[in-house]
Amino acid sequence: MSLFPPEMPRPAITDDTRPFWDGCRRHVLLVQRCTRCAAFRHPPSPVCWQCRSFDHEWVASSGRGTLFSYAVVHRAFLPSLAGCVPYTVAVVALDDAPGVRLVSNVIEAAPETLAMGLPLEVVFEDVSADVTVPRFRVRRT
């Protein structure tokens, strides 16, 4: 089931970020890693912010992480979101990509059950024929 209505903004995709979104299409969470210093980075960038190398690779993450911060949106900022509130915007720290955080949503969890550090796992939602976004739920495995 879709978390948001079709009016929700879709990701703007450039050549710098396309591999991430292509990974999502295949339900694989890809994180960029510098092939010189091995530092992970997100969001995708042409250059490593730690060693300035332009060489990188895309590494599949397990999609496991923990809740770093969250905000519960009660106001429907778009009219089409009226049926979706409250929803949770989450900042998720990935377990296997040190330093990487993703902005996403925690789904299938009441806001009052959320807590910092909560273990989460990625789930992919195909929001259209050509766009898939990663969301998170409380870890089951």
């Binding site: 995708p44 912010w49 911060s69 900022f77 900042v91 902005v103 910092m116």
Partner: protein
């Protein structure tokens, strides 16, 4: 070490504010006319004429470009114009600092800093930035990792920072309430404030509808129509102006690591940086260069787009220890007249008006002139800080 700011080499000698009204209530004229009127009034307040003006500064890509302003006001010659790359409401103090630098270097002799923002005629800031996928700049690609998840305005972004602060330091929604209620009391004594006639208690604050938890309605700034302008000249010229000059003692601007355009869209700052207002480093630099310590500050104007962000900026500026923002606010420290650091004495963005923080600079000038509606007795030094959680700027003003 080179000095980031030429101390006391420029003075603010003119100020003006338009009427402040809720968004959409400015119907008597365009935003552009409001900008022009406010600039004319600030120049008159300085005891100068348009023939004296030769520079303009603004921020946040103000729609009312200097070239049209100067043309329509009949400015004989523009010698300098500048706008800062510091983001949005982070740029208010930076615009004043750029003007001061232009004066100090002799690039210009009389600079007007202005910002007009009629949200009702353009876009309400609380509304989502939904992105325009036609024009793909690096920023748009970065927004692609925020907008589809509902991180599409500052309310959500700053709520994430404040939630983390609550987790780390035990900050409570009641602490946020102390900020909002204190600034409201200040506004209740300020006839120009949008919330002048609207008292608020801690109970009102707690009962307000949730917007983006942990923020309720009264933790979020106003959306308004209004404009501000300031006039700067060199100190020797300032002495001939009708009002007591207010000197730009020091200024700083910048951003910490991995902030991107700010927390309204990006959440990638290092852990140690995350629950701050992104004002720490620049505050340290500013105080050090000024030879002034936070304890010397008599009155502060901090960026209150959200109540909780004031707590983070208080800590960043060194007015209280890290993590102590909540108890500091709850102690009454921010309240006029008896608090340790009367803050946002006109009501701020939460209760006076949202002019992107330029009204905070104007209020700072009033305090040092001795003409503020909630006047801090014998105020000599005022700290002003611009938008927190984004690339930003700050000023130390002295009389």
């Amino acid at each position: 070490m080179g000095r980031p700011m030429a101390h006391d080499q420029a003075a603010i000698v003119g100020i003006a504010e338009s009427e402040y009204v809720r968004w959409g209530q400015l119907t008597r004229c365009t935003e552009y006319q409001l900008a022009l009127e406010t600039i004319v009034a600030a120049v008159a307040d300085a005891g100068l004429t348009m023939d004296d003006v030769d520079g303009f500064a603004s921020f946040s890509s103000d729609r009312n470009e200097f070239a049209f302003v100067a043309t329509d006001l009949g400015v004989p010659e523009v010698r300098w114009a500048g706008t800062t790359w510091i983001v949005g409401g982070g740029g208010a103090c930076a615009a004043v600092a750029e003007a001061a630098r232009a004066i100090a270097t002799g690039a210009a002799r009389c600079v007007v800093v202005y910002r007009a923002l009629a949200m009702g005629q353009f876009r309400r800031f609380g509304r989502p930035l939904t992105g325009d996928v036609q024009r793909l700049r690096p920023q748009d690609a970065a927004l692609g990792f925020a907008l589809p998840f509902g991180l599409f305005n500052a309310t959500v972004g700053m709520a994430l920072l404040v939630r983390r602060h609550m987790h780390l330091y035990g900050t409570t929604t009641e602490h946020l309430g102390h900020v909002a209620v204190t600034f409201r009391r200040h506004a209740n004594r300020n006839p120009a404030a949008v919330m002048h006639e609207r008292p608020m208690t801690l109970a009102d604050h707690a009962a307000a509808p949730r917007i983006v938890d942990p923020f309720g309605l009264f933790d979020c700034c106003l959306e308004t129509d209004g404009a501000c302008a300031l006039v700067l000249v060199a100190p020797e010229r300032a002495r001939d102006c009708p009002h007591r000059p207010v000197y730009v003692r020091a200024a700083a601007q910048g951003s910490g690591p991995r902030y991107g355009g700010g927390a309204w869209a990006m959440q990638y700052m290092p852990d140690d940086e995350y629950a701050t207002g992104n004002t720490r480093r620049l505050a340290r630099r500013m105080f050090a260069s000024a030879g002034i310590s936070p304890g010397d500050v008599d009155v502060a104007q901090l960026y209150d787009h959200y109540s909780g962000m004031v707590l983070l900026q208080l800590e960043d500026m060194g007015f209280c220890a890290r993590g102590e923002g909540g108890p500091f606010a709850a102690s009454g420290a921010l309240a006029w007249p008896d608090g340790a650091l009367p803050t946002n004495t006109a009501g701020g963005s939460l209760s006076e008006a949202y002019i992107h923080g330029l009204n905070h600079v104007v209020e700072g000038v009033k305090q040092l002139r001795g003409t503020a509606v909630n006047q801090v007795r014998d105020a000599e030094i005022c700290a002003v800080a611009s938008g927190s959680g984004i690339p930003t700027s700050a000023l130390l003003l002295r009389r």
